[in-house]
Amino acid sequence: MVAEHTQEALTPAKYIAHHLGFNVQNVGDAGGFWRINIDTLFTSIFLGFLVIGLIWWVARKAQAGVPSKTQAFVEIIFEFVDEQAKSMFHGDRHAFIAPAALTVFLWVLAMNMMSFLPVDYVANVVELIAGHEAHWRPVPTSDINTTFALALSVWILMIFFSIKVKGFGGLIHEIFYSPFGGPKFFKPKSVLGFIGLIVSPLLLLANFMFNMIEYISKPLSHSLRLFGNLYAGEVIFLLLGMLAGSSILGMVGAALLGAAWSVFHLLVVPLQAFIFMMMTVVYLSMAHESH
């Protein structure tokens, strides 16, 4: 990492900033929103079509008889995802939810696994290809754009299924009438009944607020959990890389700590992919249930 740019003195801040910088490309000259992270897009789309393509390739030739080892492996993943969908969703899961969960799981897992690549090697290869110093973030899920894109897509699907199952009126009713119920028409004979008459319409407001918070927090917690875990993992690897560059002793320490963190990261990567998939299934099943 040091050899990359010998012309300038490499400070820790620059090292980290370099590795945390995206390969940003402007679309047109508007700037602002009209920008694209080439690294995130390239890696994620490549990985997405790689993993989905691979299982498509196996699924295309899937046979009902004795399966090949490759097919058996794909079927293990299939069964794993299908079991989760089955336990969460009580409808025709094969129509959409289970395959969507499979896509989410495999894609997010593949993107998360990019964090197993040593950060500096990736940077070296990219700069070798580009021929000059270039930013390149190898882990698409440590880009907030990716996790938000996934979470918002799920959020839109959630609203779509809500309307599909309950109708638009049903969704609006649910927003105003659950979880606390609607106003009750007390007879204003007693003082208590009079208070009830005034207070109970406020339930509508409370329900609305409650549901709005839920609707906003769902995509946020969904996306930020994945982003936070992967981003933190990446930053820690960068800090360890920096420690390794400081001295011989630092290198030994960084190797040991790096090994420990890598083992931990081996758990985090599939776990976060699994959690992301589970939350997708849960949100989509909740949309199918009416209160």
Binding site: L41, A149, L152
Partner: protein, 156 residues
Amino acid sequence: MDIHLTLVAQAIAFAILIWVTVQYVWPPLLGAIETRQKTIADGLAAAHEGKSALEVASKKSEVTLNEAKQKATEIIGQAEKRASQIVEDAKGAAKVEGDRIITGAKAEIDQEVNRAKEGLRAQVSVLAIAGAEKILRKEIDGKAHSDMLSKLAAEL
């Protein structure tokens, strides 16, 4: 926290990937697995059926075997009974036949005896008369005495 067009692009990629999975990946895998599950379930059911059929057959064969044994015993018993009856019958017939033969023999013997008696009777009277004629030639009326002796001979 820099959100821009990447998000839209990622969402589109996500939508395409989901579509591909829903359309082309999930159904063939599901079909293969469900067909195999059905095949296995059918096989297990068939095995179960075969097992119960075997049980029924062995029970049936046992019953048949027992019946056959019982029948055989019956037949042997009947045969023994019949054999002893035949022996009894034969014994009876032989006894009857023997009796008949004995009776016949006895009758023949009686006849023979009678015939011999007749012969003797005839000869005795002739001899007696001849003897008496020789002894009493002169003094006895031959005819009156012959009658007397015939009467005597008839009393024998």
